[in-house]
Symmetry: C2
Subunit: 333 residues, 2 copies
Protein backbone atom coordinates (compact mmCIF):
# COMPACT_ATOMS: atom_id res chain seq x y z
CA UNK A 1 0.00 0.00 0.00
CA UNK A 2 1.21 3.46 -0.88
CA UNK A 3 -0.10 4.85 2.42
CA UNK A 4 2.45 2.81 4.34
CA UNK A 5 5.28 4.84 2.89
CA UNK A 6 3.89 8.31 3.59
CA UNK A 7 6.69 10.47 4.96
CA UNK A 8 6.46 11.64 8.55
CA UNK A 9 5.56 15.30 7.83
CA UNK A 10 2.66 14.09 5.68
CA UNK A 11 1.48 11.71 8.39
CA UNK A 12 1.72 14.54 10.88
CA UNK A 13 -0.39 16.91 8.76
CA UNK A 14 -2.94 14.13 8.25
CA UNK A 15 -3.08 13.54 12.02
CA UNK A 16 -3.55 17.28 12.58
CA UNK A 17 -6.45 17.13 10.11
CA UNK A 18 -8.07 14.41 12.23
CA UNK A 19 -7.01 11.22 10.49
CA UNK A 20 -6.88 8.61 13.24
CA UNK A 21 -4.89 6.10 11.23
CA UNK A 22 -2.10 8.61 10.66
CA UNK A 23 -1.97 9.41 14.38
CA UNK A 24 -1.83 5.69 15.18
CA UNK A 25 1.13 5.26 12.83
CA UNK A 26 2.97 8.19 14.39
CA UNK A 27 2.36 6.79 17.88
CA UNK A 28 3.82 3.46 16.80
CA UNK A 29 6.95 5.25 15.58
CA UNK A 30 7.14 7.21 18.84
CA UNK A 31 6.88 3.99 20.83
CA UNK A 32 9.67 2.47 18.77
CA UNK A 33 11.99 5.41 19.50
CA UNK A 34 15.03 6.52 17.54
CA UNK A 35 15.41 9.11 14.81
CA UNK A 36 11.82 8.94 13.53
CA UNK A 37 10.48 9.48 17.02
CA UNK A 38 12.75 12.48 17.42
CA UNK A 39 11.57 13.89 14.11
CA UNK A 40 7.94 13.59 15.20
CA UNK A 41 8.75 15.31 18.49
CA UNK A 42 10.42 18.17 16.65
CA UNK A 43 7.45 18.59 14.31
CA UNK A 44 4.95 18.53 17.18
CA UNK A 45 6.83 20.75 19.61
CA UNK A 46 5.78 24.16 18.17
CA UNK A 47 2.12 23.08 17.95
CA UNK A 48 1.92 21.66 21.47
CA UNK A 49 1.37 23.40 24.79
CA UNK A 50 -2.40 23.80 24.83
CA UNK A 51 -3.60 20.57 26.42
CA UNK A 52 -4.21 20.02 30.10
CA UNK A 53 -1.96 17.06 30.92
CA UNK A 54 -3.36 14.83 33.63
CA UNK A 55 -1.45 11.91 35.14
CA UNK A 56 -3.43 9.16 36.85
CA UNK A 57 -1.71 6.42 38.78
CA UNK A 58 -2.35 3.85 41.48
CA UNK A 59 -1.67 0.24 42.35
CA UNK A 60 -2.80 -2.57 40.02
CA UNK A 61 -6.48 -3.29 40.61
CA UNK A 62 -7.30 0.16 41.94
CA UNK A 63 -9.87 0.60 39.19
CA UNK A 64 -7.96 3.23 37.25
CA UNK A 65 -9.11 2.00 33.84
CA UNK A 66 -12.78 2.05 34.79
CA UNK A 67 -12.40 5.51 36.27
CA UNK A 68 -10.61 6.77 33.16
CA UNK A 69 -13.33 5.30 30.91
CA UNK A 70 -15.98 7.17 32.90
CA UNK A 71 -14.00 10.39 32.69
CA UNK A 72 -13.54 10.01 28.93
CA UNK A 73 -17.27 9.49 28.41
CA UNK A 74 -18.03 12.61 30.47
CA UNK A 75 -15.44 14.67 28.64
CA UNK A 76 -16.72 13.65 25.22
CA UNK A 77 -20.28 14.45 26.33
CA UNK A 78 -19.02 17.91 27.36
CA UNK A 79 -17.67 18.47 23.85
CA UNK A 80 -14.01 17.92 24.64
CA UNK A 81 -11.48 15.73 22.83
CA UNK A 82 -9.70 13.62 25.45
CA UNK A 83 -6.75 11.39 24.64
CA UNK A 84 -5.61 8.61 26.95
CA UNK A 85 -2.12 7.18 27.01
CA UNK A 86 -2.34 3.98 29.06
CA UNK A 87 1.20 3.09 30.05
CA UNK A 88 1.12 -0.58 30.58
CA UNK A 89 4.10 -2.34 32.12
CA UNK A 90 2.71 -5.63 30.90
CA UNK A 91 4.13 -8.86 29.81
CA UNK A 92 2.86 -10.23 26.51
CA UNK A 93 0.74 -12.53 28.69
CA UNK A 94 -1.61 -9.79 29.86
CA UNK A 95 -0.96 -6.93 27.48
CA UNK A 96 -3.29 -8.27 24.86
CA UNK A 97 -6.27 -8.53 27.17
CA UNK A 98 -5.85 -5.01 28.53
CA UNK A 99 -5.42 -3.54 25.09
CA UNK A 100 -8.54 -5.42 23.97
CA UNK A 101 -10.61 -3.86 26.75
CA UNK A 102 -9.38 -0.42 25.86
CA UNK A 103 -10.21 -0.75 22.22
CA UNK A 104 -13.75 -1.79 23.08
CA UNK A 105 -14.13 1.28 25.28
CA UNK A 106 -12.75 3.50 22.57
CA UNK A 107 -14.89 2.01 19.81
CA UNK A 108 -18.06 2.28 21.88
CA UNK A 109 -17.42 5.93 22.52
CA UNK A 110 -19.73 8.36 20.83
CA UNK A 111 -20.43 6.40 17.65
CA UNK A 112 -22.82 9.00 16.22
CA UNK A 113 -20.59 11.97 15.43
CA UNK A 114 -17.34 10.08 15.02
CA UNK A 115 -15.01 9.28 17.86
CA UNK A 116 -13.73 12.35 19.66
CA UNK A 117 -11.50 10.43 22.03
CA UNK A 118 -8.32 8.53 21.32
CA UNK A 119 -7.11 5.78 23.64
CA UNK A 120 -3.71 4.23 23.20
CA UNK A 121 -1.92 1.58 25.23
CA UNK A 122 1.82 1.83 25.32
CA UNK A 123 3.59 -1.26 26.52
CA UNK A 124 7.00 -1.04 28.13
CA UNK A 125 7.95 -4.70 27.82
CA UNK A 126 10.38 -4.39 30.66
CA UNK A 127 12.18 -1.51 28.97
CA UNK A 128 11.44 1.33 31.37
CA UNK A 129 14.11 3.53 29.81
CA UNK A 130 12.14 3.49 26.58
CA UNK A 131 9.02 4.46 28.47
CA UNK A 132 10.63 7.55 29.96
CA UNK A 133 11.55 8.64 26.44
CA UNK A 134 8.35 7.69 24.62
CA UNK A 135 5.69 9.03 26.99
CA UNK A 136 6.59 12.74 26.72
CA UNK A 137 6.70 12.41 22.93
CA UNK A 138 3.32 10.69 22.74
CA UNK A 139 1.80 13.32 25.05
CA UNK A 140 3.27 16.10 22.91
CA UNK A 141 1.86 14.50 19.77
CA UNK A 142 -1.66 14.19 21.20
CA UNK A 143 -1.43 17.80 22.37
CA UNK A 144 -0.15 19.07 19.02
CA UNK A 145 -2.89 17.38 16.96
CA UNK A 146 -5.61 18.89 19.13
CA UNK A 147 -6.49 16.51 21.94
CA UNK A 148 -7.27 18.11 25.29
CA UNK A 149 -7.01 16.88 27.99
CA UNK A 150 -4.27 14.32 27.56
CA UNK A 151 -4.60 11.71 30.30
CA UNK A 152 -1.59 9.54 31.12
CA UNK A 153 -2.55 6.44 33.06
CA UNK A 154 0.26 4.47 34.71
CA UNK A 155 0.65 1.78 37.34
CA UNK A 156 2.45 3.58 40.12
CA UNK A 157 5.24 1.19 40.98
CA UNK A 158 8.49 2.37 39.49
CA UNK A 159 10.39 5.63 39.69
CA UNK A 160 9.85 6.23 35.99
CA UNK A 161 6.08 5.99 36.37
CA UNK A 162 6.16 8.34 39.34
CA UNK A 163 8.29 10.77 37.33
CA UNK A 164 5.88 10.63 34.39
CA UNK A 165 2.83 11.33 36.53
CA UNK A 166 4.68 13.93 38.59
CA UNK A 167 5.50 15.82 35.41
CA UNK A 168 1.82 16.23 34.47
CA UNK A 169 -0.05 19.48 35.09
CA UNK A 170 -2.29 17.58 37.48
CA UNK A 171 -1.23 14.33 39.17
CA UNK A 172 -4.05 12.07 40.40
CA UNK A 173 -3.33 9.14 42.72
CA UNK A 174 -6.04 6.47 42.96
CA UNK A 175 -6.24 4.42 46.16
CA UNK A 176 -8.61 1.70 47.31
CA UNK A 177 -9.66 0.33 50.68
CA UNK A 178 -7.10 -2.25 51.70
CA UNK A 179 -4.38 -2.45 54.26
CA UNK A 180 -1.23 -0.52 53.61
CA UNK A 181 -2.33 1.27 50.47
CA UNK A 182 -1.50 4.73 51.76
CA UNK A 183 1.77 3.37 53.09
CA UNK A 184 2.61 1.80 49.72
CA UNK A 185 1.87 5.06 47.94
CA UNK A 186 4.09 6.88 50.37
CA UNK A 187 6.92 4.39 49.75
CA UNK A 188 6.67 4.89 46.03
CA UNK A 189 7.01 8.65 46.44
CA UNK A 190 3.48 9.20 45.15
CA UNK A 191 2.27 11.32 48.04
CA UNK A 192 4.84 13.94 47.21
CA UNK A 193 3.68 14.34 43.61
CA UNK A 194 -0.09 14.02 44.11
CA UNK A 195 -2.31 17.01 43.42
CA UNK A 196 -5.47 15.02 44.04
CA UNK A 197 -6.33 11.70 45.66
CA UNK A 198 -9.20 9.48 44.62
CA UNK A 199 -10.39 6.83 47.06
CA UNK A 200 -11.99 4.45 44.58
CA UNK A 201 -14.26 1.51 45.46
CA UNK A 202 -15.51 3.85 48.19
CA UNK A 203 -18.52 1.60 48.78
CA UNK A 204 -16.21 -1.05 50.21
CA UNK A 205 -15.44 -1.36 53.92
CA UNK A 206 -12.38 0.61 54.92
CA UNK A 207 -12.78 3.48 52.47
CA UNK A 208 -13.09 5.99 55.29
CA UNK A 209 -9.97 4.53 56.88
CA UNK A 210 -8.04 5.18 53.68
CA UNK A 211 -9.29 8.76 53.64
CA UNK A 212 -8.36 9.23 57.27
CA UNK A 213 -4.89 7.69 56.77
CA UNK A 214 -4.25 9.89 53.77
CA UNK A 215 -5.42 12.98 55.56
CA UNK A 216 -3.21 12.14 58.52
CA UNK A 217 -0.19 11.56 56.32
CA UNK A 218 -0.79 14.88 54.60
CA UNK A 219 -1.01 16.57 58.00
CA UNK A 220 1.99 14.87 59.54
CA UNK A 221 4.44 14.81 56.75
CA UNK A 222 3.86 18.28 55.38
CA UNK A 223 3.42 16.49 52.07
CA UNK A 224 0.98 19.03 50.77
CA UNK A 225 1.73 18.56 47.13
CA UNK A 226 4.00 20.32 44.70
CA UNK A 227 2.12 23.59 45.23
CA UNK A 228 2.37 23.65 49.00
CA UNK A 229 3.98 27.08 48.86
CA UNK A 230 0.84 28.41 47.20
CA UNK A 231 -1.43 27.08 49.95
CA UNK A 232 -2.81 24.21 47.88
CA UNK A 233 -3.70 21.01 49.73
CA UNK A 234 -4.49 17.95 47.59
CA UNK A 235 -8.19 17.12 48.03
CA UNK A 236 -9.37 13.56 48.64
CA UNK A 237 -12.33 12.55 46.45
CA UNK A 238 -14.41 9.46 47.22
CA UNK A 239 -15.59 7.53 44.16
CA UNK A 240 -16.87 4.22 42.92
CA UNK A 241 -16.06 4.12 39.25
CA UNK A 242 -17.75 0.75 38.77
CA UNK A 243 -21.05 2.01 40.20
CA UNK A 244 -20.68 5.31 38.40
CA UNK A 245 -20.35 7.38 41.58
CA UNK A 246 -17.98 10.26 42.09
CA UNK A 247 -16.28 10.47 38.70
CA UNK A 248 -17.92 13.83 38.14
CA UNK A 249 -16.39 15.01 41.41
CA UNK A 250 -13.00 13.72 40.26
CA UNK A 251 -13.02 15.83 37.13
CA UNK A 252 -14.35 18.86 39.02
CA UNK A 253 -11.33 18.55 41.32
CA UNK A 254 -8.98 18.11 38.33
CA UNK A 255 -10.40 21.28 36.76
CA UNK A 256 -10.11 23.12 40.08
CA UNK A 257 -6.44 22.18 40.25
CA UNK A 258 -5.85 23.55 36.75
CA UNK A 259 -7.62 26.78 37.75
CA UNK A 260 -5.33 26.93 40.78
CA UNK A 261 -2.27 26.55 38.53
CA UNK A 262 -3.52 29.36 36.31
CA UNK A 263 -4.48 31.60 39.26
CA UNK A 264 -1.08 31.24 40.85
CA UNK A 265 0.87 31.47 37.60
CA UNK A 266 2.41 28.07 38.32
CA UNK A 267 1.37 26.27 35.16
CA UNK A 268 4.55 27.40 33.43
CA UNK A 269 6.53 25.90 36.32
CA UNK A 270 4.90 22.55 35.57
CA UNK A 271 5.79 22.95 31.93
CA UNK A 272 9.39 23.72 32.86
CA UNK A 273 9.51 20.70 35.16
CA UNK A 274 8.09 18.54 32.36
CA UNK A 275 10.67 19.66 29.80
CA UNK A 276 13.41 19.21 32.38
CA UNK A 277 12.21 15.68 33.18
CA UNK A 278 12.11 14.82 29.49
CA UNK A 279 15.57 16.21 28.75
CA UNK A 280 16.97 14.48 31.84
CA UNK A 281 15.52 11.13 30.71
CA UNK A 282 17.07 11.60 27.27
CA UNK A 283 20.42 12.56 28.77
CA UNK A 284 20.45 9.56 31.09
CA UNK A 285 19.52 7.21 28.26
CA UNK A 286 22.28 8.57 26.01
CA UNK A 287 24.79 8.40 28.86
CA UNK A 288 23.72 4.88 29.79
CA UNK A 289 24.24 3.84 26.15
CA UNK A 290 27.67 5.48 26.21
CA UNK A 291 28.52 3.64 29.46
CA UNK A 292 27.53 0.28 27.97
CA UNK A 293 29.56 1.06 24.88
CA UNK A 294 32.60 1.98 26.94
CA UNK A 295 32.28 -1.11 29.17
CA UNK A 296 32.34 -3.28 26.05
CA UNK A 297 35.30 -1.49 24.48
CA UNK A 298 38.73 -3.19 24.59
CA UNK A 299 40.01 -0.86 27.32
CA UNK A 300 36.74 -1.08 29.29
CA UNK A 301 36.80 -4.86 29.15
CA UNK A 302 40.35 -4.82 30.44
CA UNK A 303 39.50 -2.60 33.44
CA UNK A 304 36.53 -4.80 34.30
CA UNK A 305 38.71 -7.92 34.08
CA UNK A 306 41.23 -6.40 36.46
CA UNK A 307 38.42 -5.70 38.93
CA UNK A 308 37.09 -9.22 38.55
CA UNK A 309 40.52 -10.66 39.32
CA UNK A 310 40.65 -8.33 42.37
CA UNK A 311 43.77 -6.64 40.96
CA UNK A 312 42.02 -3.30 41.27
CA UNK A 313 38.93 -2.22 43.19
CA UNK A 314 35.65 -1.69 41.33
CA UNK A 315 35.90 1.98 42.37
CA UNK A 316 39.15 2.26 40.39
CA UNK A 317 37.67 0.53 37.36
CA UNK A 318 34.78 2.98 37.51
CA UNK A 319 37.12 5.96 37.67
CA UNK A 320 39.06 4.74 34.65
CA UNK A 321 35.89 4.24 32.63
CA UNK A 322 34.53 7.63 33.66
CA UNK A 323 37.70 9.29 32.47
CA UNK A 324 37.04 7.89 29.01
CA UNK A 325 33.37 8.84 29.11
CA UNK A 326 32.99 12.28 30.61
CA UNK A 327 34.42 15.62 29.61
CA UNK A 328 36.74 17.01 32.26
CA UNK A 329 34.78 19.21 34.64
CA UNK A 330 35.46 22.89 34.14
CA UNK A 331 36.20 24.09 37.65
CA UNK A 332 35.68 27.76 38.36
CA UNK A 333 39.18 29.12 38.81
CA UNK B 1 34.11 8.27 73.16
CA UNK B 2 37.47 7.59 71.59
CA UNK B 3 36.02 4.53 69.79
CA UNK B 4 33.85 6.79 67.65
CA UNK B 5 36.88 8.28 65.96
CA UNK B 6 38.67 5.04 65.09
CA UNK B 7 39.97 5.30 61.55
CA UNK B 8 38.43 3.07 58.90
CA UNK B 9 41.36 0.64 58.53
CA UNK B 10 41.25 0.05 62.30
CA UNK B 11 37.49 -0.51 62.23
CA UNK B 12 37.98 -2.92 59.36
CA UNK B 13 40.61 -4.97 61.19
CA UNK B 14 38.37 -5.03 64.28
CA UNK B 15 35.47 -6.26 62.15
CA UNK B 16 37.72 -8.96 60.65
CA UNK B 17 38.58 -10.00 64.22
CA UNK B 18 34.87 -10.43 64.94
CA UNK B 19 33.92 -7.19 66.61
CA UNK B 20 30.27 -6.68 65.77
CA UNK B 21 30.17 -3.02 66.74
CA UNK B 22 32.98 -2.21 64.30
CA UNK B 23 31.16 -4.03 61.51
CA UNK B 24 27.99 -2.13 62.33
CA UNK B 25 29.84 1.19 62.09
CA UNK B 26 31.34 0.24 58.73
CA UNK B 27 27.92 -0.77 57.42
CA UNK B 28 26.53 2.61 58.45
CA UNK B 29 29.29 4.33 56.48
CA UNK B 30 28.63 2.07 53.49
CA UNK B 31 24.95 2.93 53.63
CA UNK B 32 25.80 6.64 53.72
CA UNK B 33 27.95 6.35 50.60
CA UNK B 34 30.71 8.69 49.45
CA UNK B 35 34.45 8.57 49.97
CA UNK B 36 34.39 6.56 53.22
CA UNK B 37 32.19 3.90 51.62
CA UNK B 38 34.62 3.68 48.70
CA UNK B 39 37.55 3.33 51.08
CA UNK B 40 35.82 0.44 52.87
CA UNK B 41 35.11 -1.23 49.55
CA UNK B 42 38.74 -0.93 48.52
CA UNK B 43 39.93 -2.41 51.83
CA UNK B 44 37.48 -5.30 51.63
CA UNK B 45 37.91 -6.16 47.96
CA UNK B 46 41.09 -8.28 48.27
CA UNK B 47 39.65 -10.24 51.22
CA UNK B 48 36.29 -10.94 49.62
CA UNK B 49 35.28 -13.61 47.15
CA UNK B 50 34.69 -16.60 49.41
CA UNK B 51 31.06 -16.26 50.42
CA UNK B 52 28.13 -17.83 48.65
CA UNK B 53 25.95 -14.83 47.79
CA UNK B 54 22.25 -15.64 47.81
CA UNK B 55 19.54 -13.19 46.72
CA UNK B 56 16.02 -13.74 47.98
CA UNK B 57 13.14 -11.68 46.66
CA UNK B 58 9.38 -11.72 46.32
CA UNK B 59 6.35 -9.50 46.74
CA UNK B 60 5.59 -7.83 50.08
CA UNK B 61 3.88 -10.31 52.38
CA UNK B 62 5.35 -13.39 50.72
CA UNK B 63 6.89 -14.42 54.03
CA UNK B 64 10.49 -13.80 53.00
CA UNK B 65 11.56 -12.58 56.45
CA UNK B 66 10.19 -15.64 58.21
CA UNK B 67 11.81 -17.92 55.66
CA UNK B 68 15.14 -16.13 56.00
CA UNK B 69 14.96 -16.38 59.81
CA UNK B 70 14.44 -20.14 59.52
CA UNK B 71 17.34 -20.47 57.11
CA UNK B 72 19.61 -18.45 59.39
CA UNK B 73 18.78 -20.65 62.38
CA UNK B 74 19.51 -23.78 60.32
CA UNK B 75 22.78 -22.36 59.01
CA UNK B 76 24.00 -21.38 62.46
CA UNK B 77 23.08 -24.84 63.77
CA UNK B 78 25.16 -26.28 60.92
CA UNK B 79 28.17 -24.29 62.11
CA UNK B 80 28.05 -21.60 59.42
CA UNK B 81 28.18 -17.82 59.77
CA UNK B 82 25.33 -16.36 57.74
CA UNK B 83 24.87 -12.63 57.19
CA UNK B 84 21.60 -11.13 56.03
CA UNK B 85 21.28 -7.81 54.27
CA UNK B 86 17.59 -6.95 54.33
CA UNK B 87 17.08 -4.26 51.72
CA UNK B 88 14.05 -2.46 52.86
CA UNK B 89 12.40 0.12 50.64
CA UNK B 90 10.53 1.42 53.65
CA UNK B 91 9.20 4.72 54.71
CA UNK B 92 10.03 5.82 58.23
CA UNK B 93 6.50 4.71 59.05
CA UNK B 94 7.21 1.01 58.70
CA UNK B 95 10.98 0.81 58.74
CA UNK B 96 11.19 0.87 62.49
CA UNK B 97 8.87 -2.05 63.02
CA UNK B 98 10.64 -4.23 60.48
CA UNK B 99 14.04 -3.42 61.89
CA UNK B 100 12.73 -4.17 65.38
CA UNK B 101 11.62 -7.65 64.32
CA UNK B 102 14.97 -8.31 62.75
CA UNK B 103 16.91 -7.33 65.81
CA UNK B 104 14.83 -9.65 67.95
CA UNK B 105 15.53 -12.51 65.58
CA UNK B 106 19.22 -11.68 65.56
CA UNK B 107 19.49 -11.33 69.32
CA UNK B 108 17.66 -14.60 69.94
CA UNK B 109 20.06 -16.43 67.70
CA UNK B 110 22.45 -18.84 69.34
CA UNK B 111 23.00 -16.97 72.62
CA UNK B 112 25.31 -19.65 74.07
CA UNK B 113 28.44 -19.39 71.98
CA UNK B 114 28.05 -15.79 70.85
CA UNK B 115 26.05 -14.79 67.84
CA UNK B 116 27.34 -16.31 64.63
CA UNK B 117 24.87 -14.51 62.38
CA UNK B 118 24.63 -10.83 61.50
CA UNK B 119 21.39 -9.30 60.28
CA UNK B 120 21.29 -5.80 58.93
CA UNK B 121 18.44 -3.79 57.47
CA UNK B 122 19.36 -1.26 54.86
CA UNK B 123 16.70 1.32 54.11
CA UNK B 124 16.54 3.02 50.76
CA UNK B 125 14.30 5.94 51.74
CA UNK B 126 13.21 6.38 48.16
CA UNK B 127 16.79 6.74 46.97
CA UNK B 128 17.14 3.65 44.81
CA UNK B 129 20.35 4.95 43.23
CA UNK B 130 22.01 4.81 46.63
CA UNK B 131 20.80 1.26 47.08
CA UNK B 132 22.41 0.08 43.85
CA UNK B 133 25.71 1.49 45.13
CA UNK B 134 25.50 0.43 48.77
CA UNK B 135 24.34 -3.18 48.46
CA UNK B 136 27.41 -4.53 46.60
CA UNK B 137 29.67 -2.79 49.12
CA UNK B 138 27.80 -4.18 52.13
CA UNK B 139 27.87 -7.68 50.60
CA UNK B 140 31.61 -7.37 49.93
CA UNK B 141 32.19 -6.25 53.52
CA UNK B 142 30.26 -9.19 55.02
CA UNK B 143 32.16 -11.53 52.72
CA UNK B 144 35.54 -10.01 53.57
CA UNK B 145 35.06 -10.23 57.33
CA UNK B 146 34.17 -13.91 57.12
CA UNK B 147 30.41 -14.30 56.78
CA UNK B 148 29.22 -17.09 54.51
CA UNK B 149 26.62 -17.26 53.06
CA UNK B 150 25.64 -13.64 52.54
CA UNK B 151 21.89 -13.46 52.00
CA UNK B 152 20.43 -10.37 50.34
CA UNK B 153 16.72 -10.06 50.91
CA UNK B 154 14.82 -7.55 48.77
CA UNK B 155 11.25 -6.76 47.85
CA UNK B 156 11.13 -7.57 44.18
CA UNK B 157 9.45 -4.54 42.74
CA UNK B 158 11.99 -2.27 41.11
CA UNK B 159 14.60 -2.83 38.46
CA UNK B 160 17.35 -2.10 40.97
CA UNK B 161 16.12 -4.85 43.29
CA UNK B 162 15.88 -7.27 40.39
CA UNK B 163 19.43 -6.34 39.35
CA UNK B 164 20.71 -6.85 42.89
CA UNK B 165 19.16 -10.28 43.23
CA UNK B 166 20.09 -11.24 39.70
CA UNK B 167 23.74 -10.46 40.49
CA UNK B 168 23.84 -13.01 43.35
CA UNK B 169 25.38 -16.45 42.90
CA UNK B 170 21.96 -17.92 43.55
CA UNK B 171 18.72 -15.98 43.03
CA UNK B 172 15.68 -17.22 44.95
CA UNK B 173 12.19 -15.94 44.12
CA UNK B 174 9.51 -16.47 46.77
CA UNK B 175 5.90 -16.70 45.63
CA UNK B 176 2.65 -17.32 47.52
CA UNK B 177 -0.78 -18.61 46.56
CA UNK B 178 -2.74 -15.67 45.22
CA UNK B 179 -3.97 -14.56 41.88
CA UNK B 180 -1.48 -13.13 39.48
CA UNK B 181 1.64 -13.72 41.50
CA UNK B 182 3.46 -15.61 38.77
CA UNK B 183 2.32 -13.00 36.28
CA UNK B 184 3.57 -10.17 38.52
CA UNK B 185 6.94 -11.86 38.91
CA UNK B 186 7.16 -12.25 35.17
CA UNK B 187 6.39 -8.56 34.67
CA UNK B 188 9.12 -7.55 37.06
CA UNK B 189 11.66 -9.62 35.12
CA UNK B 190 12.12 -11.98 38.06
CA UNK B 191 11.49 -15.19 36.16
CA UNK B 192 14.49 -14.50 34.00
CA UNK B 193 16.88 -14.15 36.92
CA UNK B 194 15.50 -16.89 39.20
CA UNK B 195 17.65 -19.95 39.95
CA UNK B 196 15.13 -21.34 42.38
CA UNK B 197 11.47 -20.72 43.18
CA UNK B 198 9.92 -21.13 46.61
CA UNK B 199 6.15 -21.41 46.83
CA UNK B 200 5.70 -20.26 50.42
CA UNK B 201 2.51 -20.58 52.49
CA UNK B 202 2.14 -23.87 50.61
CA UNK B 203 -0.52 -25.02 53.08
CA UNK B 204 -2.88 -22.40 51.67
CA UNK B 205 -5.37 -23.09 48.89
CA UNK B 206 -3.95 -22.35 45.48
CA UNK B 207 -0.35 -23.35 46.20
CA UNK B 208 -0.46 -26.11 43.60
CA UNK B 209 -1.87 -23.63 41.11
CA UNK B 210 1.12 -21.36 41.65
CA UNK B 211 3.48 -24.28 41.10
CA UNK B 212 1.61 -25.28 37.96
CA UNK B 213 1.59 -21.70 36.62
CA UNK B 214 5.28 -21.32 37.28
CA UNK B 215 6.10 -24.63 35.68
CA UNK B 216 4.02 -23.73 32.65
CA UNK B 217 5.67 -20.33 32.32
CA UNK B 218 9.07 -21.98 32.52
CA UNK B 219 8.02 -24.43 29.82
CA UNK B 220 6.41 -21.91 27.52
CA UNK B 221 8.72 -18.98 27.75
CA UNK B 222 12.00 -20.85 27.66
CA UNK B 223 12.81 -18.89 30.77
CA UNK B 224 14.98 -21.57 32.21
CA UNK B 225 17.20 -19.32 34.25
CA UNK B 226 20.56 -17.78 33.64
CA UNK B 227 22.14 -21.20 33.27
CA UNK B 228 19.79 -22.50 30.63
CA UNK B 229 22.71 -23.21 28.35
CA UNK B 230 24.08 -25.60 30.97
CA UNK B 231 20.82 -27.55 31.20
CA UNK B 232 19.81 -26.11 34.55
CA UNK B 233 16.11 -25.67 35.20
CA UNK B 234 15.11 -23.67 38.30
CA UNK B 235 13.45 -26.06 40.75
CA UNK B 236 10.20 -25.13 42.52
CA UNK B 237 10.26 -25.85 46.26
CA UNK B 238 7.07 -25.90 48.33
CA UNK B 239 7.43 -24.47 51.85
CA UNK B 240 5.56 -23.02 54.77
CA UNK B 241 8.07 -20.94 56.66
CA UNK B 242 5.58 -20.08 59.41
CA UNK B 243 4.84 -23.74 60.13
CA UNK B 244 8.49 -24.63 59.76
CA UNK B 245 7.98 -26.82 56.70
CA UNK B 246 10.24 -26.93 53.69
CA UNK B 247 12.98 -24.49 54.67
CA UNK B 248 15.43 -27.38 54.80
CA UNK B 249 14.47 -28.21 51.22
CA UNK B 250 15.01 -24.59 50.25
CA UNK B 251 18.59 -24.57 51.46
CA UNK B 252 19.25 -28.00 49.93
CA UNK B 253 18.18 -26.53 46.59
CA UNK B 254 20.33 -23.42 47.15
CA UNK B 255 23.34 -25.62 47.87
CA UNK B 256 22.56 -27.75 44.83
CA UNK B 257 22.57 -24.62 42.69
CA UNK B 258 25.98 -23.63 44.03
CA UNK B 259 27.27 -27.12 43.27
CA UNK B 260 25.89 -26.73 39.76
CA UNK B 261 27.76 -23.42 39.35
CA UNK B 262 30.97 -25.07 40.52
CA UNK B 263 30.45 -28.17 38.36
CA UNK B 264 29.89 -26.11 35.25
CA UNK B 265 32.62 -23.56 35.99
CA UNK B 266 30.03 -20.81 35.84
CA UNK B 267 30.56 -19.30 39.29
CA UNK B 268 33.20 -16.96 37.89
CA UNK B 269 30.65 -15.81 35.31
CA UNK B 270 28.36 -14.79 38.16
CA UNK B 271 31.22 -12.95 39.79
CA UNK B 272 31.96 -11.15 36.53
CA UNK B 273 28.30 -10.24 36.14
CA UNK B 274 28.26 -8.95 39.72
CA UNK B 275 31.31 -6.71 39.27
CA UNK B 276 29.91 -5.48 35.98
CA UNK B 277 26.56 -4.64 37.60
CA UNK B 278 28.32 -2.79 40.40
CA UNK B 279 30.58 -0.79 38.08
CA UNK B 280 27.63 0.02 35.83
CA UNK B 281 25.60 1.32 38.79
CA UNK B 282 28.54 3.50 39.85
CA UNK B 283 29.01 4.80 36.31
CA UNK B 284 25.34 5.65 35.94
CA UNK B 285 25.28 7.42 39.30
CA UNK B 286 28.34 9.50 38.44
CA UNK B 287 26.93 10.31 35.01
CA UNK B 288 23.55 11.20 36.46
CA UNK B 289 25.28 13.57 38.90
CA UNK B 290 27.19 15.10 35.99
CA UNK B 291 23.94 15.51 34.02
CA UNK B 292 22.26 17.29 36.93
CA UNK B 293 25.29 19.52 37.33
CA UNK B 294 25.30 20.38 33.64
CA UNK B 295 21.54 21.06 33.59
CA UNK B 296 22.03 23.56 36.43
CA UNK B 297 25.00 25.29 34.80
CA UNK B 298 24.48 28.69 33.14
CA UNK B 299 24.66 27.23 29.62
CA UNK B 300 22.50 24.22 30.57
CA UNK B 301 19.85 26.49 32.08
CA UNK B 302 19.84 28.54 28.90
CA UNK B 303 19.30 25.50 26.65
CA UNK B 304 16.48 24.27 28.88
CA UNK B 305 14.86 27.72 28.81
CA UNK B 306 14.96 27.75 25.02
CA UNK B 307 13.23 24.35 24.96
CA UNK B 308 10.63 25.56 27.46
CA UNK B 309 9.86 28.55 25.28
CA UNK B 310 9.56 26.15 22.31
CA UNK B 311 12.39 27.98 20.52
CA UNK B 312 14.22 24.69 20.16
CA UNK B 313 13.05 21.10 20.51
CA UNK B 314 13.93 19.13 23.67
CA UNK B 315 15.96 16.82 21.41
CA UNK B 316 18.17 19.77 20.47
CA UNK B 317 18.57 20.86 24.08
CA UNK B 318 19.61 17.30 24.93
CA UNK B 319 22.19 17.23 22.14
CA UNK B 320 23.71 20.50 23.33
CA UNK B 321 23.95 19.28 26.90
CA UNK B 322 25.44 15.94 25.81
CA UNK B 323 28.12 17.75 23.87
CA UNK B 324 29.23 19.42 27.11
CA UNK B 325 29.02 16.17 29.07
CA UNK B 326 30.45 13.34 27.01
CA UNK B 327 33.84 12.87 25.46
CA UNK B 328 33.64 12.75 21.68
CA UNK B 329 33.27 9.14 20.55
CA UNK B 330 36.41 7.77 19.02
CA UNK B 331 35.23 6.26 15.79
CA UNK B 332 37.35 3.57 14.24
CA UNK B 333 38.81 5.19 11.15
Amino acid sequence: MARATRPIPELYEAARAGERRALGRLLTKVERGGAEADQISELAHPDAGNAHIVGITGAPGAGKSTLVSRLVTDLVAAGRRPAVLAVDPSSPLTGGAILGDRIRIDEGNDPGEGRRSFIRSMATRGHSGGLALAVPLAVRLFDAVGYDPVIIETVGVGQVEVDVVGAADTAVVVMTPGMGDAVQANKAGLLEVADLFVVNKADRPGADDVRRDLSLMLDLSHMTGQESDTGYRPPIVMASALNGDGHGDVWTAVDAHLAHLDDTDTRSARRRHRIRTEVRARLLQAMSDAADHEMSSPSGTEWLSKAERAEIAPTHATDQLLEQLLQPTEETS
